[in-house]
């Protein structure tokens, strides 16, 4: 395994120096002192600008021609002076006007930055240099938003809307949506035709159900859209501070912001629109921005204002501020921006580092001023958002094809019927004098049978419409809404801390949850909380920290539980020998329980270290105390954070750019090395456990700061301590540090490496710490070179700085290593384990760095030691030429082929592969000619991690998996950068944590914690899948059974289109009499209870394998329907058609036969559903038996109604049927004749080829799980899918390894004894 995964996202930004609170308070009224202060400060700033700036008198234009926007040091002295003077003037003015607002921080520390770069204040002396032509037409008049309220610069306002409809478009659009369903169109046509005499039914009987169905669906649409609207309004009504003229700022709603407005955004607020940064609370106009919602990256990004505007640092500065921005038109590219800024008759080039994007968040900066460039739907993030696609589950898609089949059947029998009718009309009807065949309309014209046949075709199509269940859609909709309610109401998916329950935002994907094959997960905020906990460390070759990581805990538990398993004989065998291992596991378990109790107390955030040897100053008693001291000092000094005093509690918090760094500082504080102050040149540390008993405050002069970047994978500081000694402190990725050790610095290398491996295996992020003592001359020589490199001009500046830094960071002495736990969200590893056991594949797609991602992979057990990692990457090609592209692609192709070959040749059945790929490589891998190869490789790998992927790539990967494998994918994420993925995946799940709502708004389901995914899929998904599947099958069955009887009868009426049933029966059949039981099936049925679902994750595989909605099953149900229809029809007809059906001698007419047949149908389909339902609560009983009873009640009531309404059904039950024994006898006969074969079928199947849930039902039914707990436990563990990821896999691998060792040991023992 490559060990390149253990370094942290450290600092990568400019830092600012603080100065005292110079301008505060004291001189409020006096002009002169304030003037002098201003002068002073300006001069100081002038002097501190850069150490030595040779007069760069290069013509400005030359630079821009060269395209060197990143040429940071290009601050011409003159210009600097100019701006300073401008600032001075302004300050003078403000001084006159009154008190200034306090500034939090002072800055100017540039001399410590190594990679400080890029303030692009390039002046453009004339405008032709850029921004001509189409695509660059936008003009923004800053601070003059009124100009943007009228043409031609009338840009859209900041109102956003993600709703599908509005009040006017709702009816037409929603209707259109409804009638996009084929079945609804059909029913609409049928309803229209029912107004003509062609129809076999009364118009009401066609229109009523249709309007009911459509109305219900539309009401649901309206509800959902209303919710979206309310969400939008919440965003639109957020308030922001905006310049209202005359230097006054006031609050305004987001939606009222116009282009050109100057807004003030405060700390931890979201930017309301795309802004141009003008100035910030930091004097050099930088600010920190968190773009998690945009790209999912968690480290803060630094934005810098233009030099000319950074002095506008309070409200009054904007009184007369005017400027013009000319820039690109709205576009979705997040990382580019092209524009010019015209201010005081100078033109400055703008680049992306001045642009603050909507939905990113201001961090670590008290406030910024910005001018609005793009608003509302023109902002980059909104341009990125795509219309959320309406998704349909696979079951529903399949249902469509069933409906097409039924349509075909419908058309077919309609054709048969109309041909039959034409033939009858032509040859027979002329003889049927009782029909007066020669005195008729064209509907029954024997002289033109073809015309009549065509008319009849339409009639037949309407008549047999009962084959197509009109109520199916609406029933499914009702069922899904109720299922969604259960999901929303599930108390076990409610998060107490956040206070949010799970939400099914669209209900039409419930059953899809039960068929998921691949989960594509975001990392930060989804798997991790992005909070680091200092957990362990290794100092001077001794490992400290007793608390187990989450992975270790679970592994220990697993081993402990397996240890009690007497079935596992081999296990026992090694248990005796390797007893130490097992018992330590058990110990750990006990340790965990008490630890869990402990964590109930408010723990220190970022610090979970536990080891009395180091705590409370005990480290001084350790033999290696001096090394430990050094270790702690490195922790406290080697960083770039700023301490911040919390005024309420008096605690210090650290504003670091990565949570790791904060964790280190917290750790250092807890160990007694509290970093409490930072000045321009020094770091102050309060040491609690120094030789004297009192805390000592020490000052360390920071001479240089060699920053972190992903290439260097390390950072260093050069400090001068109080004794004047110069030390370089370096922390970095262990592989990097270990390579740079001096000969005598390798004292602890072996032990530390061992510990690093252990930490890595435990899923922790590791860093190695080292130092080097420098002597004065060495340092100053180096420093000269370093400064030269820093101030060098040209593209190779960074390379030079890096080279010089490199020179210094060598011959290091290893001190130790740290292990930080990237706190996973609660229950994530367990959840991943369970999901893996349920046979789901999990891919991680993250915008984060490859190392971070790999670390998390380890922490979640998606990766483990011993897994074969396939890393796909292509060499950095700076030249973006055709050739380079081609070469990169060839290279990738080769890598893909090699990897596939490797997997193919692998013999070990336990071998697991993992695939790691970065965004850049992915761009090639996703190209058409490579993507299939890439996919097939990825599918063969147990886990796939994609790093540094853009939101678009996330979506593309999702699409690739979805389309390439044809299986159901689930995308889960929490940020706006996951929106594409969430929308593209078959199911999008949003984590509704504390961050923005974009992901949730785009999602189909939202949960507040990743761990709820397990319950959502394994319980609700499984149930919903089975429910919907059996519900749809049953629906088709019931409609076929009913619809075909209509057809048979029609064949006996000379194909004339007469139905044997009263219109009312037919309306009620679908809408009332048989819909409620099937809804109860769809809403309440449970094959096994939820705890069993969770205990036997293998049951979930019934969904992805689609055991319950495959074609054989569907066709089986159709045949069952056919069979039932035949039995129902012919038994009834054979008994009733001729002979008297009562002892009074009356014969049955159509109404009597119709009612009897209908009674049979109601009974048959309801008994059928009883055979399907697994789970009877009072609700099922009520609905099923209620339906049957409702039919009798209806028939009775209908018979009581006036004969003009009921016609021949008048008093039918009361007078004719009720008292006729044959009516009841036939009902019973038909019920059994129809359902006995099905009963025999399922009993037979169950008896000889039971499915898993059958057996489990039986075990539960006979309470075997209580009687034989061992069996139950054993089966639970066996039910896990063979998985190569997750804890279980890791534990299995460990066990295998141990067994292997033991085996070797035993065999060697035997060999020895033989001798």
């Amino acid at each position: 395994m490559s060990r390149g995964r253990e370094f942290l996202p450290l600092v990568s930004s400019e830092r600012e120096e603080r100065e005292g609170e110079r301008e505060e308070g004291a001189n409020k009224t006096s002009i002169l002192p304030s003037l002098s202060l201003c002068l002073l400060s300006s001069c100081v700033s002038l002097l501190l600008v850069e150490e030595i700036i040779p007069a760069h008198t290069l013509p400005v234009a030359d630079l821009t021609v060269l395209g060197l926007r990143e040429v940071g040091i290009f601050d011409g002295l003159a210009q600097r002076f100019h701006s300073c003077c401008a600032g001075l003037k302004r300050k003078l003015k403000w001084g006159l006007m009154g008190p200034r607002l306090g500034k939090r921080d002072r800055l100017r520390w540039s001399h410590l930055y190594t990679f400080a770069c890029a303030r692009s204040t390039a002046l453009v002396d004339d405008e032709q240099s850029s921004l001509l032509g189409p695509g660059f037409s936008r003009i923004v008049h800053c601070n003059q938003s009124q100009l943007h309220r009228k043409p031609p610069l009338n840009y859209c306002n900041n109102y956003i809307s993600t709703t599908r409809y509005n009040a006017i478009t709702f009816i037409p659009k929603a209707l259109f949506e409804q009638f996009r369903r084929v079945a609804n169109i059909y029913f609409l046509l049928a309803a229209i035709l029912s107004l003509t005499p062609i129809s076999p039914f009364s118009p009401l009987s066609m229109i009523a159900p249709l309007s009911f169905v459509v109305g219900l669906s539309m009401a649901k649409e309206a509800m959902e859209d209303w919710r979206r609207f309310m969400q939008d309004m919440k965003v639109n009504r957020r308030r922001v501070c905006i310049h209202k003229g005359e230097g006054n700022f006031g609050n305004k709603q987001w939606q009222d912001i116009r282009v050109g407005d100057v807004v003030k955004v405060e700390k931890d607020q979201f930017f309301p629109a795309d802004l141009l940064l003008l100035s910030s609370s930091y004097e050099d106009g930088i600010c920190y921005v968190e773009t998690m919602n945009l790209d999912g990256e968690t480290n803060l990004k630094v934005k810098r204002s233009l030099e000319v505007t950074l002095t506008m640092e309070d409200d009054t500065a904007f009184k007369d501020f005017t400027a013009t921005i000319k820039c690109e038109d709205p576009n979705p590219s997040l990382y580019t921006f092209v524009g010019n800024f015209e201010y005081e008759r100078q033109v400055y080039v703008l680049d992306p580092s001045q642009i603050l994007l909507r939905d990113s968040k201001l961090r670590n900066t008290s406030y910024v001023y910005g001018v609005v460039i793009f608003t509302g739907h023109e902002s980059k993030v909104m341009q990125n958002s795509t219309e959320s696609p309406s998704k349909r589950s696979r079951i529903e898609q399949k249902m469509d094809s069933i409906i097409y089949i039924l349509f075909t059947v419908l058309v077919l029998i309609s054709l048969i019927s109309s041909i039959g009718f034409a033939v009858m009309t032509k040859y027979k009807m002329p003889n049927w004098w009782f029909l007066q065949p020669f005195n008729t309309t064209s509907l029954y014209d024997p002289s033109r049978p073809a015309v009549s046949g065509v008319f009849h075709l339409v009639t037949a199509l309407i008549l047999y419409g009962y084959l197509i269940p009109i109520s199916l859609y609406v029933s499914i909709e009702v069922v899904k809404v109720l299922q969604a309610t259960f999901i929303n109401q599930d108390i076990l998916m409610y998060d107490e801390e956040i206070g949010k329950p799970a939400r099914a935002r669209t209900s039409n994907l419930n059953e899809e949850l039960g068929q998921v094959d691949t989960i594509l997960s975001d990392k930060t905020g989804t798997l991790t909380c992005n909070q680091m906990d200092f957990l362990k460390c290794s100092i001077a070759g001794i490992s400290y920290g007793v608390r187990a990581s989450e992975v270790e805990m679970a592994a220990a538990k697993q081993i402990a539980s397996e240890a009690d398993d007497p079935e596992n004989v081999i296990h026992d065998h090694w248990e005796d020998n390797v007893g130490a291992y097992g018992s330590s596991g058990i110990e750990l378990v006990n340790g965990i329980t008490c630890m869990v109790e402990k964590t109930q107390k408010p723990a220190i955030k970022g610090f979970s270290f536990e080891d009395d040897r180091l705590m409370h100053g005990n480290w001084r008693n350790e033999p290696t105390a001096s090394t430990i001291l050094l270790f702690f000092r490195i922790l406290a000094l080697c960083h770039s954070a700023i301490p911040e005093l919390n005024e309420k509690t008096g605690d210090l918090t650290y504003e670091a750019e990565s949570p790791d760094e904060a964790a280190f500082l917290v750790a250092a504080r807890e160990f007694g090395f509290e970093f409490y102050k930072r000045t321009q040149s020094s770091v102050f540390i309060r040491e609690r456990y120094s030789s004297s008993e009192k805390p000592v405050e020490r000052e360390f002069k920071i001479l240089n700061l060699l920053e972190f970047n992903s290439k260097r994978k390390r950072m260093s500081v050069v400090v001068r301590d109080e004794s004047g000694q110069i030390i370089l402190l370096c922390k970095g990725a262990d592989s990097i540090i270990l390579d740079r050790l001096s000969k005598n610095g390798r004292m602890y290398e072996i032990d530390t490496t061992k510990h690093l491996n252990e930490y890595g295996e435990a899923g922790l992020r590791t860093l190695a710490l080292s130092y080097r003592v420098l002597d004065e001359s060495e340092y100053s020589a180096w420093n000269n070179e370093f400064q030269k490199a820093k101030t060098a001009i040209g593209p190779d500046r960074e390379a030079q700085v890096e080279r010089v830094s490199d020179m210094m960071e060598k011959d290091l002495i290893l001190v130790g290593a740290t292990a930080v736990e990237d706190k996973l969200q609660k229950g994530v590893p367990q959840c991943i384990d369970k999901l893996a056991q349920a046979g789901l594949k999990i891919w991680v797609l993250t915008g984060d760095k490859i190392e971070t991602a790999i670390n998390i992979g380890y922490a979640c057990s998606l990766l483990r030691q011993g897994m074969k990692q396939i890393s796909l990457s292509i060499a950095n090609t700076d030249l973006i030429t055709q050739d380079a592209n081609k070469a990169a692609k060839e290279n990738l192709k080769l890598q893909l082929t090699n990897a596939s070959q490797m997997i193919k040749l692998e013999k070990d059945p336990y071998a697991a592969f993992s695939l790691i790929i970065d965004g850049k490589t992915l761009t090639y891998a996703l190209e058409d000619d490579l993507k299939n190869q890439f996919l097939s490789l990825a599918v063969d790998c147990a886990s796939v991690i994609c790093c540094r992927v853009s939101p678009k790539q996330k979506a593309l990967v999702t699409r690739l998996v979805k389309e390439g494998t044809g299986k159901v994918t689930l995308g889960i994420g929490d940020g706006a950068n996951d929106v594409g993925m969430i929308q593209e995946a078959d199911i999008g799940v949003g984590i509704s944590g504390v961050e923005g709502m974009q992901a949730v708004m785009a999602s189909d389901f939202s949960i507040s914690q990743f761990r709820f995914l397990e319950r959502l899929l394994v319980v609700h998904g499984h149930w919903c899948y089975k429910r919907i599947a059996s519900m749809i099958c049953y629906f088709f069955y019931k409609n076929i059974a009913f619809g075909l009887t209509i057809f048979y009868f029609e064949a006996y009426t000379g194909f004339s289109g007469q139905a044997i049933y009263d219109d009312w029966y037919m309306i009620l059949f679908n809408v009332v009499l048989t819909s409620l039981p099937v809804i109860s099936l769809g809403v309440f049925d449970q094959d096994v209870p939820s705890d069993v679902c969770l205990q036997f994750p293998a049951l979930y595989q019934q969904g992805p394998k689609n055991l319950f909605f495959g074609w054989p099953r569907i066709i089986g149900w159709m045949f069952n329907g056919l069979y039932s229809s035949i039995i129902i029809y012919f038994i009834n007809i054979a008994i009733f058609y001729l002979a008297a059906f009562r002892s009074d001698g009356q014969t049955a007419d159509m109404a009597a036969i119709g009612a009897t047949m209908f009674t049979s149908i109601i009974w048959v389909v309801n008994v059928q559903i009883i055979l399907i339902i697994n789970h009877f609560t009072w609700i099922q009983h009520l609905l099923v038996w209620g339906s049957v009873v409702a039919w009798y009640i209806f028939l009775f009531a209908y018979g009581m109604a006036s004969p003009t309404i009921s016609g021949d059904a008048y008093q039918l039950l009361q007078e004719a049927l009720g008292s006729a024994p044959i009516y009841w006898i036939v009902t019973i006969l038909v019920i059994f004749a129809c359902n006995i074969p099905y009963l025999a079928h399922i009993s037979f199947k169950r008896m000889f080829t039971p499915l898993d849930h059958h057996v489990i039902q039986e075990i539960k039914h006979f309470k075997l799980d209580e009687v034989d707990q061992h069996m139950w436990k054993r089966e639970k563990s066996k039910a896990r899918q063979k998985t190569k990821i997750g804890f279980t896999a890791r534990v299995d691998a460990t066990i295998r390894q141990l067994k292997g060792k033991l085996h070797r040991k035993v065999s060697s023992l035997t060999i020895q004894t033989m001798f």
Binding site: Y494, K826, T1053, Q1086, Q1095, S1143, L1229
Partner: protein, 351 residues
């Protein structure tokens, strides 16, 4: 494993109490219903249950079948097809001409022999064949409102083409059904003595009371150019025209029987009944058979072996299935809840 799961998915109460009141408003309320934990009965199909059910069904069905067959066997039925026999030899090539010729006397005499003792009441039916009373055009051709209420005599919608008389006044009863009313008549004599046929109460009481008005009299009936079937006495209200009422109950199939009357007198075996019938009704156009049926009835109605056979078949099938199950189960039993049948135990390699 179960333990940690429990803690992971369980409601982690206790934390976050500080801000509880506002947040908890979103907390789903616990109820057995919303958590889908309602007490439920979960029947499973055990072999014992299946075999018992099948046996039980068989045990119940076979006696019912036997009883039905016996009932059916006790019914004595005389069926006499007369449509062909009642045509004079010279007209047999032109049956339609014969039937449409009003000048020919349509009387015909048939002799029936009673096969077994027939207890009264003996029901007299006429049975038509190939007569599509269920044709949509036919079924729809009536107007119930008009039949019921003399006030609504001119409601003739749906009655096409027998709607109005030539002068535009409504036909009562309108429509094809009434127009094609069956008009063969039968009179019976047993060894010279007339057997009275009681034609009272052959229709449903509800029809007489509520669907055919007591004050609705036939009007303009059979006055058109095309003569249909029977004429009605315009002085008798529709509620008393029971033949019409029976006829208006359209039959479900093209072969049907309708009640003509009752002979309320026992008949002995080998009695010879002379039937004098008026063979008026035209079934010759469409080759429809006409039959006269005399039948007694049982508790199940008329003679109908099918129901008994069906019951016996289903009952037999149940017995068969029960036996088959038992046998197969004994040969290859599966212990209920035997975990070795779980998929992961059956084919441990391939999940």
């Amino acid at each position: 494993m179960n333990d940690y799961h429990g803690s992971a998915a369980g409601p982690s109460s206790g934390s976050g109490d500080g801000s509880a009141p506002r947040r908890n408003s979103k907390r789903p309320k616990y109820s057995k219903f919303t958590q889908q934990e309602l007490p439920a009965c979960k029947p499973i199909l055990t072999p014992r249950w299946v075999i018992s059910v099948l046996t039980l069904v068989g045990v119940v069905f076979v006696p019912i079948g036997v009883a039905s067959l016996m009932a059916s066997n006790n019914v004595v039925e005389i069926v006499d097809r007369y449509d062909a026999k009642c045509i004079p030899g010279n007209m047999s090539s032109d049956k339609v001409g014969y039937i449409q010729d009003d000048t020919i006397d349509k009387s015909c005499i048939r002799t029936l022999t009673v096969p077994k003792d027939m207890d009264q009441p003996i029901y007299v039916y006429y049975q038509l064949d190939n007569f599509y009373q269920n044709h949509r055009r036919y079924v729809k051709s009536r107007n119930d409102a008009q039949l019921r209420d003399s006030e609504q005599a001119d409601k003739t919608s749906g009655c096409d083409p027998e709607k109005n008389a030539r002068d535009g006044s409504p036909i009562v009863p309108c429509g094809l059904i009434a127009w094609s009313l069956f008009n063969d008549t039968y009179s019976f004599a047993l060894s010279g003595k007339i057997l009275t046929v009681n034609k009272k109460d052959i229709s449903w009481k509800s029809d007489r009371d509520h669907k055919f008005g007591k004050d609705v009299f036939p009007r303009n009936f059979q006055n058109g150019t095309l003569k249909g079937g029977a004429t009605l006495n315009p002085n008798i209200p529709l509620s008393d025209q029971e033949d019409l009422i029976v006829w208006m109950r359209t039959a479900a199939l093209p072969t049907f029987r309708k009640l003509y009357g009752r002979i309320e007198q026992d008949l002995k075996a080998n009695d010879t009944i002379t039937v004098t019938l008026k063979n008026n009704y035209n079934t010759y156009s469409f080759n429809g058979k006409k039959k006269l049926v005399l039948s007694t009835s049982s508790w199940l109605g008329g003679k109908n072996d099918f129901i008994g056979i069906a019951y016996l078949t289903v009952g037999g099938l149940c017995f068969f299935l029960a036996t088959a199950f038992t046998v197969v189960y004994l040969v290859k039993p599966r212990k209920l809840g035997d975990p070795s049948y779980l998929s992961w135990n059956r084919n441990p390699s391939g999940h």
